[in-house]
Symmetry: C2
Subunit: 353 residues, 2 copies
DNA sequence: CTGAAAGCGCTTACAG
DNA sequence: CTGAAAGCGCTTACAG
């Protein structure tokens, strides 16, 4: 079995000690050229290709990879399939390439991620949830990390966006067009059936959402309030982005909130589901219904009609996050700007009855 | 430093030997419940969260991840951004999810991949090139693997497609429509400027291509021959898929082979580049020019016009490959079927002058 | 510049 | 069921 040659064998054949053999590979400048060549020759003869990373890892070596944990309970498959995630990963992977590191995608339910945070063989993490912060600090081997889209305090690096302002802009845009009857398709991070939050329920809380989603709700509320509308009177459906769940959410919205002339969707994925469901029902967008998305993910441009949405710098966000992980400087909290982009999914409401 | 607690500390506090403590975590059935609880209590008190995977790995433990090496010299960023790769990864990641494993994406130049094959902390590999096979068998820790899109002999598992037949179908389709003047936009796997292979050069070989690409060339040739056309008379441009390179390739094709009424592209990515370049030049597809792609990646449907292309089961291919890695059975060679899909990028040629 | 030794954190036969 | 010992493959002070 040629794979079982170890550094000790090479050392023996070369007639040097184990330590010297190790140095020949890792700190060649500490070894006389002559000896270095003996070791190299022995290694060649034995078919030894260099120190096994498993042994090296134990002494504090690098794994040459960073782990990414997409927010919420989604599978690797769903993550990769999400235009949002893909754009973000584009930025992350650019920086990985620069650092000659590989990319480990960890996804699934909370317990699986928790397991991975403690056990994954990586040099750092991009996290998607505050709860994961504690776990990563409990690791045997400390590694740098950054949390996405949530403030985790001054001691933890985070990169997020101004979701509240973005959401407010979206709602203001619809209000300016003359809309007064709204419905919200909110984000749920968990794989559960869509949840109906009827209007006028004074203490409504999204149940499967993350802080960013709450911020967006507040942002919608800010705009409504300025127009004399109470957020409490706006019906909300909360739904999970992957295919199936989100379409069900869009469908529920049409069933239970048929009077809305405009829908505020917390992601472009949600908005596209509304578009699809509207077409299925013969409702024309934007003539019969206006829809505003969030993120400006690639599908916002390719949808039919192209989405009015709130853009965030997804690729740049990935770059910044990855740089924090590789750079390892002091904790920093970045907040990235958002911007309303008007396309063709919004217009003035039709004359109301 | 709370992270430096090790199993030995837990064992001491619990008043048991190291071996018993290890068993309490890994083979609880071998430990009396009472002792098991002592160990658990000690661990809790010390804030010990389970054996460090680094130590465990050395004794043959699993990394709980598989590595994927996209074919050719592309960055992680480009890989993720490729609709082809994404569909493939969708299948791979589905099976990863089933096996509760994570996904390590290794990309870049050959030497970086070689390094990763020998050193990456994974339990198996999906490879993109025959040359990588030898490296993975040289690993200290043997792991199962599969090679994509190339026959690596009966001892190595591989998953590929019938590229020759697929390419023949593409060319036959154009011939049946009446086309006689062709040009080929071929695949290069390396980041080099487009390469011009003029017609009538008898011994043309693609220089940056993989076996599958040669197969496709042969397939085109099969169809041409049956129609009395020599492949040698068909101009070829070879170009690398990522943005920039491929557009340059398409542009070169228009410059140097302006008389072609139909273009055979070796991937949908290449075909889309032709569509874009055609529009830029005011050439209407399919009226002035027919284009056939390959793969039926997601962008084949969303392009304008939608592409006539040769479909391969990309997602299923990913599933099959991943199952081979996780399943670890005897070597097998799968060849997946292809199928011509006619959309709107092909039509009869205009009356030729 | 080189060697002998200790140790990284854990698991696994082997005795008992 | 439990313990003492050897070892996984390597690196790193520490002497010389």
């Amino acid at each position: 079995m040629p794979g079982s040659i170890k550094l000790a064998d090479v050392a023996k054949l070369a007639g040097v000690s184990l330590g010297t053999a190790s140095n020949a590979f890792n700190r060649p400048e500490r070894v006389r050229q002559e000896v270095r060549e003996q070791v190299a020759a022995a290694a060649r003869k034995l078919g030894y290709l260099g120190p096994d990373p498993k042994g090296r890892l134990l002494m504090g070596g690098k794994a040459h990879a960073i782990g990414v944990l997409p927010a919420g309970e989604i599978s690797v498959a769903h993550a990769i399939n999400s235009p949002f995630f893909r754009d973000f990963m584009l930025g992350v992977s650019e920086i990985c390439d620069e650092n000659r590191a590989n990319l480990l995608i960890v996804s699934g339910t909370k317990d699986r991620k928790d397991w991975a945070i403690r056990n994954a063989l990586v040099d750092g993490f991009i996290l998607g949830h505050t709860g994961e912060v504690e776990l990563v600090s409990q690791r045997h081997q400390k590694v740098p990390f950054v949390v996405m889209d949530v403030d985790a305090g001054p001691d933890v690096s985070s990169v997020r966006i101004d979701g509240r302002t973005g959401a407010r802009r979206a709602a203001e845009h619809l209000l300016a067009l003359g809309h007064r009857r709204f419905a919200i398709l909110a984000m749920s991070r968990r794989p559960v059936s869509p949840i109906w939050h009827p209007a006028s329920d004074l203490s409504r809380r999204l149940v499967g959402s993350f802080p960013l989603d709450h911020e967006k709700l507040l942002g919608y509320g800010d705009a409504f309030e300025a127009a004399g509308i109470s957020l409490d009177n706006v019906p909300i459906v909360e739904s999970h982005p992957p295919t199936g769940w989100v379409e069900a959410g869009a469908s529920m919205l049409f069933e239970r909130a048929p009077k809305a002339t405009a829908i505020l969707a917390m992601s472009d994925r949600h908005a596209v589901a509304v578009l699809v469901e509207a077409r299925r029902r013969g409702i024309r967008v934007p003539r019969d219904l206006s829809v505003v998305g969030f993120d400006n993910a690639p599908d916002a441009v390719t949808s039919d009609p192209p989405l009015t949405t709130v853009a965030q710098p997804l690729v740049e966000k990935g770059r910044i996050a990855a740089r924090i992980v590789f750079g390892g400087g002091p904790p920093r909290q970045d907040i990235l700007p958002v911007e309303l982009i008007v396309r063709s999914s919004t217009s003035r409401p039709r004359r109301q009855s």
